[in-house]
Subunit: 467 residues, 2 copies
């Protein structure tokens, strides 16, 4: 057909990328279908070159990702007890504080992390008074280390001190362990940087009453299958990061009869049950180490482009990738977009903080929002957005988790295993649900919302993988 | 424009009703949009006349429906205790058995209802042996009456005997009460027509241990707000009829700390918690009387066309309408379409049975399936069907329940208050989720699925309302 013939017919146009072309055609009465498209890696030649280099070793990359994926799929995280950080966390020191995110010095720490460090020093009784605690923190006498470098994870500030109780989660398939503190509730709590007397007293009660009582109950259980609870939660409106109401309920159902079989007095059991019943986020501190145990199972697999950690200390965002092992790729953390508690606004908010993005790294949380449409009441948006967020994440992930399915997507497995290549190619960043901490120490949570990692974490990782 | 001009243009046709017209046009290359349409009331002149008569008193009908809706909206059902049927149910007799559905004689009872009657007679110790129990049931010495006529509801066979324990649900706004037995679990249970020694022993344990222990806990609570639990369940993947997993979990969270405050021994509390924890349908027997208490609040309002009960005895389906008070409109019950437990098929199934359609009558259950996409694993269909079922029910209901919202429909209130006029006008029948009982006495549950009421219940009701 000649070009003139073509233009004499009614045109039906498919426009790829750049929307103004489509708009021009529409103004002339032409029917246009638009395909959303941008050049791979935003057209950046260095990134395209790196993608090409990885394509040249495609077989090794696929084999590495397959192995990493298989280990993650086969991991079986069980809650096996509650222990003291110093006693159970590998490499934990007597004057060490673990924190969320990649490594950071006291000087560069944000307000809520500083607040939690002050609180932990007071909790340990190393000094009296917040001013003295700040001095000690700044003196160099305290060793700071990321939770992630000690098989641990912590929500928000994520501070773990030597005498804090931690959940012991065991991946029974591969033998690795993960640890996390017990969730204190919402509002004025240490993990959001609050350190008032009320906060410290609650922490002492967790240590002296809740932890040993739960440990006794868990011992009687022979281990609680966290993967099974996660699978059920996703059918009950939770996504395992900002919504853990069903998970907390299911955990309480398992714990209540066990608690009655322990030696604990009725009043103690009653206080423990009331505390868990009063905090719908209690299960978060189990969904997180469950995800950590799964991702650590993948370990370091050469050539694998799958992300094994996404984490923030309130100043920097860091990711780790399977093919580069324990190396952190960091960039400045971003602000969270979300809903604020009455009396607070975006100007009070700290930058993105916490190890809780381990849930998204394992394919739940913001990746499983389609399972939890009610969460939009907490983080903002509509139920349709919740579906859309999950659908988008399939474009940047390796596979679908057969054990964690989303009813609203007709039982499709959660999008799991973030592939650095796909993130850079598509320009689609992972979607993270998160809480918002006040930027000053000593205040606490001010809201919840959605956030993305900085682009630079993924481009750095890609360039390093391509070496 | 002349008719010839019209046909020289490209035609864009909207076809209303009868699909073959659209197909013919498509074969000729014409673009057609189809509107699903059938004549009101299927074109039946008697029904159209009845609808016209009601239109003539439109104001009274609207005022009646508004009043009934308001009472239903304002009802506040609370669980206030557990009592013995003979002592608490109004009009309960010493040799009376209540059953699901509209009135029925022993001769016309289906297998599962007969099985439950035999079981109840043995449970009461009125005779020894199933044959003797059948004889007694047939002798006329036992008075049979619908649960619904005694402020009660019962799932499946719904048999209530004088010494059975029942939940006491109180509508605190209007003062009316509703009662329901305690849920026995799945499989071989009385409500599905099983009456083996194991079934009767479990019932005795419910009476002697579970009921008094729960009563003591509920007394300490000052009343448990069932409407609040229902609202939460719908955000946690339950629809309150065939899926009550979240409701059961939330109830257990409330009960566990209360049980510890009672005088009950630890072993007793432990057995009670294990029993509830072992049965995800435990809350059904609270969602049902909660709905009954709400619908009874509407009571008898002249001219109101809203349905106040849908119920089945395994032989007949009966409905009650607000404008005609306690009158039953009945027609033969229909078979259930669904999924069967291994080893069973449709040929084993009894017809539709149980008072549990009280949940759909109150706007949850099959009307709220969009809140519970995971239920399709139990009753069949896809997640998209679950959304569709709920969307369709808005066409036959009076309003949207502001307290029970569906996250996946962007927090739209559940479609509530079935309007007989709308059912007959549109030809859309209510959608009911239900269990399937074996048709022979003594066996139990064989599956679960979806069912509709017979059309004749609604046409009879419309004709009576038009009088």
């Amino acid at each position: 057909m000649g070009i003139n013939e073509l233009f004499q017919q009614e045109l039906a146009v498919i426009n790829v990328g750049i929307p103004p072309f489509a708009a021009d055609l529409r103004r002339q009465g032409c029917r246009v279908v638009e395909v959303e498209w941008t050049p791979p890696a935003g057209g950046d030649s260095e990134l395209l070159h790196a993608l090409d280099r990885l394509s040249a070793v495609q077989e090794q990359v696929e084999a590495g990702n397959k192995l990493a994926w298989q280990r993650m799929s086969e991991a079986q995280p069980f809650l096996e007890g509650v222990g003291t950080a110093l006693a159970v966390i590998p490499g934990m020191g007597e004057r060490m504080l673990l924190h969320a995110g990649p490594p950071i010095t006291w000087e560069r720490m944000s307000g809520p992390l500083r607040g939690a460090v002050i609180g932990a020093i007071l909790y340990e009784g190393w000094v009296d008074g917040a001013a003295e605690a700040e001095q000690l923190a700044a003196s160099g006498a305290i060793e700071f280390a990321p939770c992630h470098e000690h098989n641990s994870v912590g929500p928000m500030a994520g501070v773990v001190s030597p005498s804090m109780p931690v959940f012991i989660v065991h991946n029974r398939t591969h033998g690795n362990y993960a640890y996390c503190t017990l969730n204190e509730g919402l509002g004025k709590v240490l993990r959001y940087g609050a350190y008032s007397a009320e906060v410290l007293e609650r922490l002492k009660w967790l240590e002296h009453e809740l932890a040993p009582t739960l440990h006794a109950a868990v011992q009687l259980s022979g281990g609680i299958d966290l993967r099974s609870i996660l699978a059920q939660m996703l059918h009950m409106g939770d996504e395992g990061h900002n919504r853990n109401k069903a998970g907390t309920s299911l955990l309480l159902r398992v714990l209540a009869p066990l608690l009655l079989q322990t030696e604990a007095a009725r009043g103690v059991i009653s206080r423990c049950l009331n505390f868990i019943n009063g905090n719908d986020h209690f299960f978060l501190n189990l969904s997180m180490p469950a995800c950590k145990a799964v991702l650590d199972a993948a370990g370091h697999v050469p050539y694998s482009t799958l992300v094994t950690a996404m984490s923030r200390n309130g100043t920097d965002f860091g990711i780790r990738v399977c093919g580069t092992g324990e190396h952190w790729f960091t960039a400045p953390a971003l602000p969270v977009e979300g809903l604020y508690f009455p009396g607070y606004s975006a100007k009070d908010a700290n930058l993105d903080i916490g190890d809780s993005a381990i849930t998204e790294t394992a394919g739940i949380g913001g990746f499983a929002m389609a399972a939890a449409p009610a969460i939009v009441q907490f983080v903002g948006g509509s139920a349709a957005d919740a579906l859309e967020y999950s659908n988008l994440m399939y474009q940047i992930t390796y596979g679908e988790n057969a054990l964690c399915t989303i009813p609203a997507l007709n039982f499709r497995g959660t999008p799991t295993g973030i592939d650095v290549r796909k993130v850079v190619e598509t320009g689609i960043l992972p979607n993270i649900n998160t809480g918002i901490a006040h930027k000053k120490p000593g205040i606490g949570q001010v809201g919840a919302g959605l956030v993305k990692p900085p682009w630079a974490c993924f481009t750095q990782a890609l360039l390093e993988l391509a070496q």
